[in-house]
Amino acid sequence: MSVAANPVPESLLEERFEATIARKDRIEPRDWMPEAYRRTLVRQVAQHAHSEIIGMQPEGAWIGRAPSLRRKAILLAKVQDEAGHGLYLYSAAETLGVSRDELTELLISGRQKYSSIFNYPTLSYADVGTIGWLVDGAAICNQVPLCRTSFGPYGRAMIRICKEESFHQRQGYELLLTMMRGTAEQRAMVQESVDRFWWPSLMMFGPPDDASPNTARSMAWGVKTHTNDELRQRFVDMTVPQADALGVTLPDPDLAWNEERGSYDFGQPDWDELWAVVAGDGPCNAQRVAHRTRAWSEGAWVREAALAYAARESAGHEA
């Protein structure tokens, strides 16, 4: 049967697509999908993949200086996991018809973004713990719902990623706990780090719902399942007791338990700062992209050699 001869009418395809979404079933790469859905997904999956890869830099900077061999092993393995997450996610994006090379070009040319949190610098070893606890913690809040996202390869990648992220989060928190049992300097280092990362972590959930124009459509498509503010609240409610257990102060004078809501009230981050960082003027945007660009272009000859070798081998086998 020729597809061209008997095309399924687009309206029917769209109906089927909507029905799959409505059943909370998964859309698979070979299924028909609206072009806007595909575009939204490519953008989201790519941005997520880029975040994993760029996210290797701020923590990777401390592998060489990890203050114990055990922490060195933990950190090296964690950053390696991030590379692995990047791999799964680029593979998921490839099922939508876009290659890793293309996406990398979009990243280094600045046409695709990554999570703004990685445009903040790491300034002490405590940041390794804080990134695990707060940044990975926020990422998990964002990502757990994505395990049930409508696009199959993305949802399955997220299941694996979330499992590893939880592990990283516990490791980060455990580092901070250990440091808080150490010297006064170490405790001060932890507090200083938390002071720096608290607000940027809250920004990871994106702008407030009333300033987030794409949320509605993403939710309708099952690409997104909770609003930014819902997830932010969940993160705060989860984190405040952990901060108490740790013995650090979260730098928000408005933070208080609201008996009525059964949730914490909290202040608003400086959204102007978020927009400046998104626009490219954050403390590390230029550095992160320059690093990725350098690594990618310095590796070009290796990738070319591998292609040339593979081509020659397959020619040899055919001959």
Binding site: P67, V79, L87, A295, V302, Y309
Partner: protein, 263 residues
């Protein structure tokens, strides 16, 4: 026990220092697969280093640096983070700057082939700990060697550029190869006691493996003389290249800033 400890430091420092170098590739490799592979090798070597440093400390606690009273720093970290360069016992091959991807591939090939041959013998050590470390290490090192060997072939037969770089990288490292097989007094002593391995005894095995890789790749064995040490001494005696002290300056910076710290 002093000799056993020193011998464990030699093998442990080799792994520690090369692990540190390979970890520098993190977020810098040509593609994600190689980034992950170098991290894997670095992790394996780091694991070997930890076991060997701990064994050294157990065999001769006097070789473990002293810290202020009340310091909670464990022995493996005292050895890793509180020794100066002249106390490290690694061969110089492990400490050289990475160079490019081709040079790193050549280094991992030379290093893993040599260490694999050592560990295959060491798995029969009379010291149960060393024997166990070696037995576990054999599997890891086989993977390291095969990874490097595969890339060696790819680069040799890939493009002109990759071949040029591979040959240059191999020639830059080759002068440090003789040091791998020069028997140190401590190695001679532990080998005599059936605890360690005399590296000279594995030279032929290693050569045979390398020659096979070189032949398959169509790369000639470099014809360059060995790099001298200082007054006949090199890495095994703590006489290193200038690169090591800078590597340690970075590696030890946080630990040294907090000698009473818990991590």
């Amino acid at each position: 026990p002093a000799d056993l400890a020193t011998y464990c430091l030699m093998l442990g420092d080799d792994a520690l220092v090369l692990s540190q170098r390979l970890a520098e590739w993190t977020s810098n490799a040509p593609d994600l697969e190689e980034d992950i592979a170098f991290a894997n090798i670095a992790l394996d070597l780091l694991g070997q280093a930890r076991l060997l440093l701990a064994r050294a400390a157990a065999a001769d606690p006097t070789q473990v640096p002293a810290l202020p009273a009340g310091s909670p720093v464990p022995d493996e970290d005292r050895l890793a983070f509180f020794r100066d360069g002249t106390a490290l016992r690694n061969v110089r091959l492990a400490e050289l700057p990475n160079g490019d991807f081709a040079q790193t591939v050549a280094r991992v090939l030379l290093f893993a082939t040599w260490r694999l041959a050592l560990f295959e013998e060491l798995a029969r050590s009379r010291d149960a700990v060393l024997a166990a470390v070696a037995a576990k290490g054999v599997k890891e090192l086989t993977y390291h060697r095969d990874f490097a060997g595969r890339w060696f072939l790819v680069l040799a037969r890939g493009t002109e550029e990759s071949r040029r770089r591979l040959v240059a990288g191999l020639e830059a490292l080759w002068p440090y190869r003789a040091e791998l097989f020069a028997t140190h007094d401590v190695e001679r002593a532990v080998a005599g006691a059936g605890v360690g391995v005399d590296p000279a005894d594995v030279a032929d095995t290693v050569d045979a493996v390398l020659d096979r890789v070189l032949e398959t790749s169509g790369v000639e064995r470099p014809d360059v003389p060995p790099r001298a040490g200082v007054l006949g001494r090199a890495g095994r005696d703590g006489r290193h290249t200038e690169a090591l002290s800078l590597l340690l300056a970075e590696m030890q910076s946080v630990a040294r800033a907090h000698p009473l710290g818990q991590w």
